[in-house]
């Protein structure tokens, strides 16, 4: 079991706490005038995404989390798991719905994702910042309106619903910003 001492704490270091992998967001060394020193740490639970404050006795050791990030290609979903592949080794990984989170709204096969693996199991899937998706359903466009003011909902091929300008029609390709869940522009593929 790899361990990490508090003096190695810094942003980005990953440790196990209460059985869950955590990412250190911020580390501060505190020491009252003449006493025991402590590390005050802001830490993100990589399973739940929650950020909490934790205090450690300086000099303490904690278990290091075996966490790596890989660029994986999304393959398909089988109703229970989402399957990914490392494009060089062809090694495959399956991720549960919890790891997918919002990413499942944006993924279509072949997309490359940043996948956080803990003990070789996907913990978190980050979709590409921008994806191109086809509109499968939306109200008919209003002729002559090209301003984009107002907008209307459109359903995309992955099932996600985004607000689009009135001139967008079924079958068009759209560029979507997955971080905001917003329409960016028409796309040409």
């Amino acid at each position: 079991m790899a361990t990490i001492r508090t003096n190695q704490f810094k942003g980005g270091v990953k440790i196990i706490l209460d059985g869950d992998p955590h990412n250190i967001v911020e580390n501060e060394f505190v020491k009252p005038g003449k006493g025991q020193a402590f590390n005050r740490v802001k830490i993100r639970n990589l399973k739940t995404g929650r950020v909490v404050d934790k205090t450690f006795r300086s000099g303490e050791t904690v278990e290091a989390a075996d966490v790596v990030n890989l660029d994986l290609q999304y393959l398909y979903e089988d109703g229970e798991f989402w399957h990914f592949m490392e494009p060089n080794s062809f090694e495959q990984y399956q991720a549960g719905e919890a790891a997918l989170g919002d990413a499942k709204k944006w993924l279509k096969p072949q997309d490359k994702c940043d996948v956080t693996l803990w003990n070789n199991t996907p913990l978190q899937i980050d979709p590409p910042n921008f994806v191109t998706l086809t509109v499968t359903d939306t109200d008919p466009g209003v002729r002559g309106d090209t301003s984009g003011g107002g907008g209307k909902p459109a359903t995309l091929e992955t099932g996600a619903v985004v607000r689009v300008p009135l001139f967008i029609e079924i079958g068009e390709l759209l560029k979507i910003d997955t971080r905001k869940g917003e329409y960016v522009s028409r796309a040409s593929e």
Binding site: N7, L17, N27, E28, F29, V30, K31, P32, G33, K34, G35, Q36, A37, F38, N39, R40, D53, K54, T55, F56, R57, S58, G59, E60, V62
Partner: protein, 323 residues
């Protein structure tokens, strides 16, 4: 090595401010008739406090980088130096963070004939002399007042259990802590509440002196008998950062020996290095240390706070990673 790593951590403007601060400090003490003394950095004595770790010299394992110039300065005082100050580096192994650098600049001074309240006056005067943003009046609160205003249990009487409960309730409790009946449990929870809780709370109060610590936290200062017994000590906080630490100096060589022995016992239990204390200091105090008050002040922190930085690295010529 990252690309810009050869460069100083501080900008040229800050280096000029730093040199100016040193000059102002020296002028302040010259005007008050306090003598500058430069003490050795490599000493045969090491601090005994379990909270301090000294760097040990590989070529000569009986020499240590000083954690403060206290031992040498007190020996000079016992030899009749009169009031003295020392501006220079001190070293603390493992202390690195936003407000800590393992090598830092410390200003320490001793005033025979003054008591710790008079010394607080002088600390406040120094602050005003060197920092344009320093407050005119710095209030003084006893640690009991501070705890009570922060809604915390009485630091003098609360049990380890009560302090622990207060810390846990506020989410300060560390993942590993001593059992409530462990010998140092009370001091452990006091340190935690003080270090983690109070500095946050004091961040909003501008500057203040916190005084009259529990006798168990006396270190090398005098205690005053009474209920509760108090350590005649103070800490200066500014913008939530501990800036200075002083008090009426312990004179009795037997008490000094007892406290060092108690520290060593804790060090043995913790598995820390135990070759600590300074036989020459005890010999000096047998000869007689004049009644005096002394204080140590973190110069890098002072400069950072005076210039509006929220860390000390930008005021260090070369911070630890670049040293």
């Amino acid at each position: 090595m990252p690309a810009g790593d050869w460069q100083p951590s501080a900008s040229r403007e800050v280096l000029i401010e730093r040199a100016h601060l040193f000059a102002q400090v020296r002028q302040f003490f010259a005007e008050r008739g306090v003598l500058e003394i430069d003490t050795p950095v490599l000493s045969q004595g090491a601090a005994s406090e379990p909270g301090l770790a000294s760097f040990q010299l590989a070529q000569d394992p009986n020499r240590w980088l000083i954690t403060s110039p206290e031992f040498a300065m007190k020996r000079a005082l016992a030899a009749g130096s009169g009031p003295i100050y020392r501006l220079g580096p001190a070293f603390r192994a493992g202390e690195a963070g936003r407000w800590h650098n393992p090598e830092f600049c410390m200003l320490e001074w001793y005033r025979p004939g003054l008591d710790y309240h008079e010394l607080m006056d002088e600390v406040a005067a120094l602050l005003c002399a060197v920092a344009t943003n320093a407050p005119e009046n710095i209030p003084r609160y006893s640690i009991a007042d501070v705890f009570s205003q922060a809604g915390l249990p009485d630091p003098h009487t609360a049990s380890a259990e009560a302090l622990r409960a207060a810390a846990e309730q506020r989410g300060w409790a560390p993942s590993k802590s001593p059992a409530n009946d462990a010998p140092q449990a009370r001091d452990f929870w006091l340190d935690l509440v003080l270090g983690v809780g109070i500095s946050d709370w004091l961040a909003d109060s501008g500057a203040c002196f916190v005084t009259d610590y529990p006798a168990s936290m006396a270190v090398l200062t005098q205690t005053r008998n009474g209920t509760p017994p108090l350590a005649e000590r103070f800490e200066l906080y500014w913008q939530g950062v501990e800036l200075a630490n002083g008090g009426n100096e312990l004179l009795d060589p037997d008490l000094l020996q007892q406290r060092v022995a108690a520290d060593i016992a804790i060090r043995v239990a913790n598995g820390q290095q135990t070759q600590v204390g300074d036989a020459r200091l005890i010999a000096a105090q047998r000869q007689g240390l004049p009644a005096c008050a002394g204080v140590a002040l973190g110069v890098d922190r002072l400069l950072a706070l005076a210039l509006g930085f929220v860390a000390i690295a930008p005021v260090l010529p070369f911070a630890w990673e670049r040293a």
